[in-house]
Symmetry: C2
DNA sequence: AGCAAACATGTAGAAGATGACATGTCTAGC
DNA sequence: GCTAGACATGTCATCTTCTACATGTTTGCT
């Protein structure tokens, strides 16, 4: 009765509730580290955002401070209310949130460049995505090596990340081919507006 | 000198410079409409964000007010400096910006749900992505019908959007199969933490 | 003449995110 | 005994974005 409206964002809240569910009681410090290691591919937050949010969540009854350890350490535990909230978000919230992608913005504006410049950009995109793909596939392989079975937290996200990165590589190649074809036919092509006049 | 540092974000600036390059001189009102129609799939901004940004860009010399029309209309034109800035961003800036995706966050936390709930979520994801795919493919088809050749502003982004959406559909199907397989083998599976205790 | 709809531009306040600043504790090694 | 590094928590200023408020003009229809 109060927190039950999440037409608004609250993704950070959900991410923290998820980590607390998966990894058990943890401090703000632990959660910050966990963010860096795991959820970082999907959502980013620094400690300066996490600490205040934890305080608010505690005030809202979604988590409680179970223990105060040494060095001022506060160990948070998820409450029943917090679990319900997380479950509700996962099952009922349709992710509609703004899809803001610098990559896609660059893709959008690519035809404004001269073909040769556009090709340079696309080659860099392809190289970056290929490197990232290797990175993600290593993560995937090391998870399998440790004998973990698929279905752990992060596994589906990792799969999604790998598939999306492969798509980016394929896109960059196709776009480069299109531009090369255009150049061959038109001799010039491209609007070239922002290039040297 | 001075504006040449874009380690910071400035994606909105770039988007506006791109639209001014592509569509020629335009007012804040025009640009707001153009955002809704075209770039919206890639970056969102309302007039309350666009007007102040245009004022700052004019102050920075990236654009100028060419004409003051009726109804207080201001028509902005991109300057040489603005063109250079756009070109520099497109060719030199590596999109590293935060990749925050609610969809991926949901994917990340999916294993926390009971298998049956997870399957419900995945079916909804698949349905949403399929609908969106149809939408994008219609956009693509209508662009072709109008006799436009590939290589216009937005075309590469549209292709990227279509490919990414197809990937999402494929991912949702694969994830659902994984969960179904787990359920069959384990009888229970899933940590089910946030479900009814 | 009156009115609605589109044209057109702004401001204000709240929320989220980022990077820098600030402070202090405990442990392991020298 | 000292000191570096990990542990641990917080605040603050700034920026971006979002929703809502606020204002006024021109056109076209009735």
């Amino acid at each position: 009765m109060s927190i039950l409206e999440y037409d608004d964002v609250m993704s950070l809240r959900v991410a923290l509730l998820g980590l607390l569910t998966y990894a058990g009681p943890a401090s703000g410090y632990d959660l910050t580290k966990a963010f860096e290691r795991s959820i970082n591919y999907v959502w980013q937050a620094g400690h300066s955002q996490i600490y205040p949010e934890l305080a608010k969540m505690a005030a809202d009854g979604l988590i409680t401070v179970e223990a105060q350890g040494t060095r001022g350490r506060k160990t948070y535990t998820i409450t029943r209310e917090g679990s319900d909230e997380l479950r509700r978000w996962l099952t009922e919230h349709t992710p509609s949130g703004p899809v803001r992608s610098e990559r896609a913005l660059q893709a959008f504006l690519l035809p404004l460049l001269e073909p040769s410049d556009a090709l340079t950009v696309l080659r860099r995109v392809e190289a970056d995505a290929t490197a990232r793909l290797r990175e993600l596939e290593e993560l995937f392989a090391s998870a399998r090596d440790l004998g973990a079975e698929p279905g752990n937290v992060g596994d589906f996200a990792l799969d999604l990340g790998i598939k999306n990165t492969r798509t980016t590589v394929a896109w960059a190649r196709a776009a480069a081919e299109t531009i090369e074809a255009t150049t061959r036919t038109a001799g010039d092509g491209g609007t070239g507006a922002p290039s040297g006049e």
